[in-house]
Symmetry: C2
Subunit: 412 residues, 2 copies
């Protein structure tokens, strides 16, 4: 096949869906089980049904729209993404994967008729963790480990319990939370990159081979707070100086290690944080990500050793606390290959890459063959009303998805 999906239809539908929870400044706030969320899911259901897709919610509020297959009736290819947003997010993150999935199914039906396997688009209930301190509620329910005991006791920032919010929206826990659909044979998620790699490299499509693993740390340095005027340089145990040497080393080591490793010191707090006092205490975070577990662990070991060495040299006490340790998730080579084959057929300028951010696909991947497609994000911005992808870039992404679903759903 050679597809030529184009036009402003994708953007128009994103703007339409973005009105549910839309703010005057162009941002969207659509938190799990809120009124805006319910309205959006119901509007999407209507949209699917109008196009002749069989639409239904599961117990927790994931919305599925189905294009029935003719031959392999117990095999379903799933696409889609999450319908919730961060507070004051943009109209691309999540939404794009749903709208693009809908348009891809419509295009395939109109162009090629019914597929061999069932094709479904899913509007997943929740991924961002913006209302309750818990994320991936949608995909976790699909793959059968929703951690019900955990969410049961959660409240949102207004003190509303999770269950109350869920019931009010018309949903409930799954009767059998471990129950998983056996017909799901593949998942393809189309998403904005939320980074600037495609933009910088002038590529239209990213085919994701791995979602990075990440480890997060809090490092606490205890030196000595001293008078900035009366304490000679040689007598100091300056926590800011020690932190600076560690941060320089972390950045140098990460640069030298090279992609796909990233290491970030995003947060730093000094005490007493006063112009004329040598800092006695520094607390900073470290976020390390890599597509391969061994590399992630080895880099952690190297950086830890280096930080301990610097602390020892400068006479400051150091505490390194690792509070997140998520393994990398590889995408399925066959699904990746399906996407790649169609990108080549359709002459799309693609890049094999990894995702440095977390996605529903990392939950889906252990349960079914999964891969992701990215389109560029202007300036790499996301989780902001300034999130933006050009209409023609959005259309190219839909074409890539059409190709992938054709490859997976229309071939023997």
């Amino acid at each position: 096949m050679n597809n030529a999906y184009s036009g402003k239809e994708v953007e128009d539908k994103l703007v339409w869906l973005g009105k549910f929870g839309g703010n005057p400044d162009g941002g969207v706030s659509r938190l799990l089980y809120s009124k805006e969320w319910v309205d959006a899911q119901n509007a999407l259901k209507k949209l699917l049904e109008e196009e002749g897709l069989a639409a239904q919610f599961d117990e927790v509020g994931n919305l599925f729209g189905r294009l029935e297959g003719t031959t392999f009736k117990d095999e379903t290819i799933l696409t889609g993404s999450h319908v919730d947003t961060v507070k004051n997010g943009g109209i691309y993150d999540g939404q794009y994967g749903i709208i693009a999935g809908f348009l891809a199914l419509k295009y395939l039906k109109d162009t090629y008729g019914p597929p061999l396997r069932n094709l479904e688009v899913v509007s997943m209930a929740e991924e961002e963790g913006s209302r309750f301190p818990f994320s991936f509620w949608g995909s976790k329910n699909i793959v059968g480990h929703p951690s019900v005991e955990e969410v049961k006791h959660m409240e949102d920032f207004d003190g509303i319990p999770f269950e109350e919010a869920m019931h009010k929206a018309g949903f409930d826990y799954k009767k059998d939370p471990q129950q998983v659909r056996q017909d799901l044979k593949a998942f393809v998620e189309l998403h904005v990159e939320q980074g600037n790699v495609l933009e910088k490299e002038g590529k239209s499509v990213g085919i994701v081979q791995h979602i990075v693993g990440q480890r997060r740390f809090t490092i606490t340095l205890d030196g000595e707070a001293n008078h900035a005027g009366t304490t000679p340089m040689g007598y100091r145990k300056d926590a800011m100086n020690a932190a600076s040497r560690m941060i320089c080393a972390i950045n140098d080591m990460a640069l030298e290690h090279g992609d796909p490793l990233v290491a970030t010191v995003g947060k730093l707090i000094l005490e007493p944080n006063t112009v004329n006092v040598v800092p006695g205490k520094a607390t900073f975070t470290l976020d390390i990500r890599h597509t391969h577990k061994d590399a992630l662990h080895q880099f952690t070991d190297e950086v830890t050793a280096k930080m301990n060495e610097v602390a020892s040299q400068l006479g400051v006490r150091i505490d390194i606390d690792m509070w997140m340790d998520a393994d990398p998730v590889p995408m399925d080579p066959n699904v990746v290959k399906a996407i790649q084959t169609q990108c080549e057929l359709n002459k799309l300028d693609y890049k094999m890459m990894h995702s440095g951010a977390g996605h529903d696909s990392q939950l889906m991947a252990p349960a079914m063959p999964t891969a992701m497609i990215f389109v560029p994000s202007r300036n790499g911005i996301s989780h902001s009303p300034h999130e933006y992808t050009k209409p023609e870039q959005l259309a190219v992404g839909v074409n890539a998805l059409i190709g992938a679903l054709y490859e997976l759903g229309y071939k023997e």
Copy 2:
């Protein structure tokens, strides 16, 4: 002469004076013109009078206690320090110079009778700048440039105007603010070091030859805030990384330059300061001090050039704002010599040094020959209830002051 002043009298009097504004935790809060301040000055006046010293306030509330000289009646040697404290300060900073001055005059009178020149101890109204955003009110009035127009419009943290507070305490502006006493021929200030040099080097007495000049800066770095997972190391403009390289360079350059130069990055604020976002903005302060103006300026130039170079290399915008520029103040060689001569006679283990902190003496020095004497501060701590100097160390300081005043007041 060979003096052997000793005993717990100094500490007893410090504890006594510390009760005026004393907090339950052992700290002292005695802000300019407060009730505690008025009570302390009045109690000191009574103490001076009971010892037979002629005591009087000037118009603004500096308290002088005078031991009349027999021969050079128009020549006065002044000692003392400031009676105000920081909020929740200790009982040594300021107080010690007043109590020691009083005890020195008492000892000299009792031991040698009246001096050739008048000896006076002064309890200066204010040095710390803790109540109003203005410091050195006491010494500025003594030397004739109190900047009345500036203080006139000031209010304290409770909105009480400066004038109202002054009038309520029973004082007023000087009728002729530029008028300066012509009889003041020398000033010697005894003070706790507020640093850890004497303690580290095991010396009893510091003789100050310079008070450092200081320059203070705010440096603002504008990079790019990016997603910590999706932004490869090579595409970043990380303000924290840039700041770290500058701070390492500042510390390296200061260490290499050596004493008496000190350079301190005491405060740093990141934006957005979040674990999973590459810092887009870093704002930090730099405090540079040196005893010599040329060296202070040259180091500033070198550090500024280095910071600009780092910013340029890393592609972050930099703004360097110098908001304080105070020249170093040399102490008078003859007064220094007088202190040194007596320290040697009395076999006191002294060190020639500089003051890295600001003191009343830097205001006095341009108006009259001035020098300072330091005693050790435990762990270099000051401006804290934990400020501490041992009774025997306090006594050694009083002996050094007795010697200096003897040299200046009892010799032809």
